[in-house]
C-alpha cells in the first residue's frame, strides 16, 4: 500500500487492524482509536480518497490501496485549510477526535467545495466529538471551504 504517498510493504498478521498498523508499525499516532465498534470515528483515514474507519479495516485489506492520514495534511510546512479552519474556529478541544474529523472534512470539501451546514453535519455524523458540541466544527469546515474558494483568508 501507499501511506501518505510512500510505498509501504510489510508482512503482517492477517487479523492486524489498519489502525494498529498505522500507529504501532508505522508510528503514525495521529490516527486514534476510540471504540472498537465503528461508532466514534477517531480512526478515520482516507482510503483511495474515501473516509474509512481504520478500526474496521484489516491492514491486509488496505494492500494495494492509497492511505492518507492526518500527518499528510500539512505539506512543506504549510497547513491544509482544514487544519487552519479548526484552529481559527476552535474546532477542537482535547484533540482526540480531531484528526479523524479533519480527514472526513477534507474528503467532503474535495467532493463538495461549498457544503451547507447540514451537509457538513451529515458528513461527520458517523463520528463523535465529546468536547465541542459540533457547532464550532461546522464553522471550521465552512472556514476552510470559504478559504479554498478565495472568500476569506
Amino acid at each position: 500500500m501507499t501511506v501518505n504517498g510512500e510505498y509501504v510493504a510489510r508482512a503482517v498478521e492477517a487479523r492486524l487492524l489498519l489502525v494498529h498498523f498505522l500507529r504501532d508499525e508505522l508510528g503514525l499516532t495521529g490516527t486514534h482509536w476510540g471504540c472498537d465498534t465503528s461508532n466514534c470515528g477517531s480512526c478515520v483515514v482516507l482510503m483511495d480518497d474515501e473516509p474509512v474507519k481504520s478500526c474496521t479495516v484489516l491492514a491486509a485489506m488496505a494492500s494495494g490501496h492509497d492511505i492518507r492520514t492526518v500527518e499528510s495534511l500539512e505539506v512543506d510546512g504549510v497547513l491544509d485549510p482544514v487544519q487552519r479552519g479548526f484552529m481559527e474556529c476552535h474546532g477542537l478541544q482535547c484533540g482526540f477526535c480531531t484528526p479523524g474529523i479533519m480527514m472526513t472534512a477534507r474528503a467532503l470539501l474535495d467532493a463538495n467545495p461549498a457544503p451547507t451546514d447540514h451537509e457538513i453535519r451529515e458528513a461527520i455524523s458517523g463520528q463523535i466529538c465529546r468536547c465541542t458540541g459540533y457547532a464550532s466544527i461546522v464553522r471550521s469546515v465552512q472556514w476552510a471551504g470559504a478559504f479554498e474558494r478565495g472568500e476569506s483568508g
Binding site: 484533540g95 480531531t98 468536547c131
Partner: protein, 795 residues
C-alpha cells in the same frame, strides 16, 4: 498563505487562538497510547463476565505457557504483595484484582503481560476460571431489603444496618422544613431518577509504567486529571517513597471526571512493570471503559416543594437513594459524601430546606462522581428545576414567571442558603432576561399556542423548557474541605527568564480545556509579556508544584487565581528593581501593561524585559534583594465561586414516533470575568451537548442479572452532529468577589444546567397529554409510554 501567522493575540485576556492546537491539528498530540518505549510490553485484564459470583477455580498455567506472555498475575499474587485492595478517594477500599468474589460485571480478576497487545488478549482466553454465580443486587430500591444478597462481605456492616448500606448523609433543617410544609398552601411530591450515565471520553483510560530497578523509581504516564494527588495516593498505598514516583499526565483525550479516580488498571500496569522489569502499557477498550470505569449520577430522588398559591416557594425537601455500586469509588471532598448536592435549593430564596441521603452498594461498577457534574450539582439542579416546573404546572403559572418571583435578588448577595452555602454574587434576573430576549420567548409561546389551537394531526408537538442554575465550583477552601486529608489548594510558579520570556508551572492539568492558552493569557494580562512568549508547563509531578488537579471546574477559580497572584508577586519585585534603577520611590512608578514609567518624565521607564535582564545581571539590585525574577505561591481559596445561567430549550416531538428533536437551545452563562471568550464558549457548547445526551439518550442500564446494557457505543448513545442544534449563546458578567480577576469556573455549567431545560421542554410538549414528569433518558419509547399513560419500559 503562511502556515501560522503569529495571530493578533491580546497581551492578556480576550479572544486568542489556542497554542496547543498547533500540535493537535498536525496529529502530533502525545496521548498515553501514543507512547512507545524500548522493550515495552502490553497488559490486558481478565474481567468478570457476571455481576456477582464466587471464584471457585483459577488456573493460569496455559496462559503462562503462551510463547509471547511474560507474566500472569492474579488477585492471590497481589495479596502476597499487599496490593490486592486499594483505598478509594471516599475512604472505602476497592479490589485491584478480585481475591474472593466478583462484585460487578467487568471487575478485574487477573492480568496478562505480553510482548504485543494482541497476544495479551489471546492469553486471557487461556486462563481457566470458574464461577459460582450469586444473585445480583440490581434494583437500588431493594438493596437494603433484609433478604438482599450481601455485596460487601469483606467489611463489617454498620450496626443495625444491612451490609449493603454505604452511608447516610443529611443537610439543612428537618424540623424547620417540616414546619413550613405543615402550613404551606401547596405541597407537591415527585420521584425522579437521574439515571446512571458515563463520561465516556473519546480516549479511554490507560497508563504506561516504567520501573527503574537501579534507582528504584517509578515513572507512570497515565490518563489522570490529578497527577499530584495520584502520586501521593500511590505512595501511601503501594509503599513506594513519594520522591521515587513520577506521574506524568500527557495529552488527555477528554476527561469529564472519568480520569479522576485511580483505577485497578493503573495499579496493574505498575505491578506488571515491577514484575517484568520492562515498561508496561495498559489501555482499556471501550467496553472496559463503559462497564468498569467511573460512572456518574445514579440517584433516585424524591423532591418535595412547598409554596403559597401565589407562587412563592417556601421550602424544598429531598430524599436521595444513591447507588454507589460495588465499591464507593466516588471522588468528592471528604466531608461531602453527597458531593455538593446541598445546593439543591437552587437559585431561589427559601425559608427552609432539608435533604436526607442514603447510599447503598449494588453489584454494579464503582464510582459516583464523574461526568462534569460539579460534585453532584447536576443532580441537585435537575431536582430543583424539575420541581419548580411541576409547581408551575400545578399553579398554572408560566415557569419563567414562577422563577422570577422566587429568585435570590442581587442585593441579597452574599446570600447564605438554607443548607449552609454562601452564594458569592449574582444577578439572576439579568441573565434570565437576556435568555428570553435571545429566544424570543413570548413569540415562542405564541407559536406554541397557535399550534395547539390548530391541533393539526401529525404536526409535531412543540415544547419550551426553561432552567436556571447556580453552581458552587472551585473546590475549595481548606476550612471547609479536603480530599483524602489533602487541602484543595494549588501551587503555581512563575519564572521570567533573563531575556524576558517566561515559564509558568501549574498544579492543574488540561484535558482539552486549553490551559496552555488561558494560563498564558492570565500571566500576560498581569505582567505584559506576550502569551506566545510564556510557556505553560503542566501535567508532570516533577516539573510542577503540588495541587489537586482539574475537575469540578476548579482550574480557573483555584489555579487561575494562583497564576494571577504569583504574577503580581513577581511584578511587585520588578517594580522594586525598576524603582532602584530609575532612582525613584517604587510607589511613584506607573504600571502600564509591560512597563513601569516615571510619570512626567518622558523616556524614564523600563520594560519588563529590561527589568528581567537587570534582575539576572545582578550588578545593581536593591540592597539585600535575591537575584532573578521568579516567584511561587500556594493559593487556598477564600470561597467557592458561584456561576449561574439561564437556559431555554425548544423541542419538537413527533406525535407518531415520539422522537424528540431539539430545535433550538439558548444558553446565557454568567461565569464572571471571561479570560478567553472563545474557549469559554467552547466549554459551554460541549456541556450543552452532554446535557442533550443525558436527557435524550445516554444511559447505563442493567438487566435483572446485572449485565451492563450500555457496554459499547452502539448501546451507549452519544449525540452526533445531527442530534444537536447550532447553539445560541449569550452572557452576562457578574465578577466573582473573592477571585483576583473576578472569574468563576465554567467547565461544567452547561452539563449541569442543560438536562432540566431539555426535559422541561419535552414535558411541556406533552402537556396536552397531561404528563407531569417522565424520567431520562427521554428515548422515543419512554416518551411514547408517557404520552399514552404507561409506565416507562424496562431499560
Amino acid at each position: 498563505m503562511t502556515a501560522e501567522p503569529r495571530v493578533d493575540a491580546p497581551i492578556g485576556h480576550g479572544r486568542m487562538l489556542r497554542k496547543e492546537d498547533r500540535r493537535f491539528v498536525r496529529g502530533l498530540g502525545k496521548f498515553t497510547d501514543d507512547l512507545q518505549l524500548p522493550g515495552m510490553l502490553h497488559l490486558a485484564i481478565l474481567r468478570s463476565p457476571v455481576a456477582h459470583a464466587r471464584i471457585t477455580h483459577l488456573d493460569t498455567t496455559a496462559a503462562e505457557m503462551h510463547p509471547r506472555v511474560k507474566a500472569v498475575v492474579t488477585g492471590a499474587d497481589l495479596e502476597e504483595r499487599g496490593l490486592a485492595w486499594m483505598p478509594t478517594l471516599s475512604g472505602d477500599v476497592q479490589a485491584v484484582l478480585a481475591t474472593d468474589k466478583v462484585r460487578f460485571q467487568g471487575q478485574e480478576v487477573a492480568f496478562v503481560v505480553a510482548e504485543d497487545r494482541y497476544s495479551a488478549r489471546d492469553a486471557l482466553e487461556l486462563i481457566e476460571i470458574e464461577y459460582d454465580v450469586l444473585p445480583p443486587v440490581v434494583d437500588v430500591r431493594r438493596a437494603l431489603d433484609p433478604e438482599a444478597p450481601v455485596v460487601r462481605d469483606d467489611k463489617p456492616a454498620s450496626p443495625g444496618r444491612h451490609p449493603n448500606h454505604c452511608f447516610d448523609w443529611e443537610t439543612g433543617d428537618a424540623a424547620a422544613t417540616q414546619a413550613v410544609f405543615d402550613r404551606a398552601e401547596v405541597t407537591l411530591t415527585q420521584e425522579m431518577v437521574f439515571p446512571r450515565v458515563h463520561p465516556a471520553p473519546l480516549e479511554t483510560c490507560g497508563a504506561v509504567a516504567e520501573w527503574d530497578r537501579v534507582e528504584e523509581k517509578l515513572t507512570l504516564w497515565a490518563t489522570t486529571q490529578a497527577p499530584h494527588a495520584h502520586r501521593t495516593l500511590y505512595a501511601m498505598f503501594a509503599g513506594i517513597p513519594e520522591h521515587k514516583i513520577r506521574v506524568i499526565s500527557p495529552d488527555i483525550g477528554g476527561g469529564f471526571g472519568n480520569k479522576v479516580p485511580i483505577y485497578p488498571g493503573y495499579v496493574c500496569a505498575i505491578v506488571g512493570a515491577m514484575v517484568t522489569g520492562k515498561p508496561v502499557k495498559w489501555v482499556e477498550d471501550r467496553t472496559e471503559n463503559l462497564t468498569a470505569g467511573c460512572f456518574a449520577r445514579d440517584y433516585v430522588m424524591t423532591g418535595e416543594i412547598a409554596a403559597t398559591r401565589e407562587g412563592r416557594i417556601l421550602a424544598i425537601r429531598s430524599h436521595v437513594l444513591a447507588d454507589h455500586g460495588a465499591f464507593n469509588g466516588a471522588a468528592a471532598p471528604r466531608k461531602f459524601p453527597g458531593g455538593f448536592f446541598g445546593v439543591f435549593t437552587g437559585s431561589y430564596d427559601l425559608e427552609a430546606a432539608y435533604c436526607s441521603m442514603t447510599a447503598v452498594h449494588t453489584t454494579k461498577a464503582p464510582g459516583g462522581v464523574a461526568y462534569s457534574c460539579s460534585f453532584r450539582i447536576a443532580e441537585a439542579v435537575y431536582l430543583v428545576e424539575r420541581m419548580v416546573d411541576i409547581l408551575a404546572d400545578e399553579l398554572g403559572v408560566d415557569p419563567v414567571e414562577l422563577r422570577r418571583r422566587n429568585f435570590i435578588r442581587p442585593e441579597q448577595f452574599p446570600y447564605p442558603s438554607k443548607t449552609g452555602w454562601v452564594y458569592d454574587s449574582g444577578d439572576y434576573e439579568a441573565a434570565l432576561g437576556e435568555a428570553l430576549r435571545i429566544a424570543g420567548y413570548d413569540e415562542l409561546r405564541r407559536e406554541q399556542a397557535e399550534r395547539r389551537e390548530r391541533g393539526a394531526s401529525g404536526e409535531s408537538l412543540m415544547g419550551i423548557g426553561v432552567s436556571f442554575f447556580t453552581e458552587a465550583v472551585g473546590a475549595g477552601p481548606r476550612r471547609q474541605m479536603d480530599m483524602a486529608g489533602l487541602a484543595m489548594a494549588d501551587g503555581c510558579e512563575l519564572t521570567v527568564h533573563p531575556t524576558g520570556k517566561a515559564v509558568v508551572r501549574l498544579a492543574v492539568q488540561t484535558q482539552g480545556q486549553g490551559h496552555e492558552t488561558t494560563f498564558a493569557q492570565l500571566v500576560a494580562e498581569e505582567i505584559g509579556i506576550h502569551p506566545d512568549d510564556i510557556e505553560v508547563v503542566h501535567g508532570d509531578t516533577e516539573l510542577t508544584p503540588y495541587g489537586l488537579g482539574t475537575y469540578g471546574s476548579r482550574s480557573t477559580p483555584v489555579s487561575g487565581a494562583a497564576a494571577v497572584l504569583v504574577t503580581r508577586k513577581v511584578r511587585d519585585k520588578a517594580r522594586l528593581i525598576a524603582a532602584h534603577l530609575l532612582e525613584v520611590d517604587p510607589e511613584e512608578l506607573v504600571w502600564t501593561k509591560g512597563r513601569f514609567d516615571v510619570p512626567g518624565v518622558p523616556g524614564a521607564g523600563m520594560t519588563i524585559q529590561e527589568i528581567a535582564t537587570a534582575a539576572y545581571a545582578g550588578d545593581d539590585l536593591p540592597a539585600g534583594m535575591e537575584l532573578g525574577l521568579s516567584g511561587q505561591l500556594v493559593y487556598d481559596p477564600e470561597s467557592l465561586t458561584y456561576p449561574f445561567g439561564a437556559y431555554i430549550c425548544v423541542v419538537d416531538v413527533d406525535p407518531g414516533t415520539a422522537q424528540v428533536k431539539v430545535r433550538r437551545f439558548i444558553a446565557v452563562d454568567d461565569c464572571g470575568t471571561r479570560i478567553n471568550e472563545m474557549i469559554v464558549e467552547g466549554q459551554i457548547h460541549g456541556g450543552l451537548t452532554d446535557g442533550v445526551g443525558m436527557a435524550l439518550m445516554e444511559y447505563i442500564g442493567f438487566d435483572e442479572d446485572g449485565n451492563c446494557l450500555g457496554g459499547s457505543l452502539m448501546d451507549y448513545l452519544i449525540p452526533t452532529a445531527l442530534e444537536v442544534p447550532d447553539w445560541e449563546t449569550g452572557q452576562t458578567i457578574t465578577p466573582a468577589p473573592y477571585h483576583p480577576i473576578g472569574a468563576k469556573g465554567v467547565g461544567e455549567s452547561a452539563t449541569v444546567g442543560s438536562p432540566p431545560a431539555v426535559v422541561n421542554a419535552v414535558i411541556d410538549a406533552l402537556e396536552p397529554f397531561g404528563v407531569r414528569h417522565a424520567d431520562m433518558p427521554l428515548t422515543p419509547s419512554r416518551v411514547w409510554a408517557a404520552m399514552h399513560g404507561r409506565g416507562a419500559p424496562p431499560n
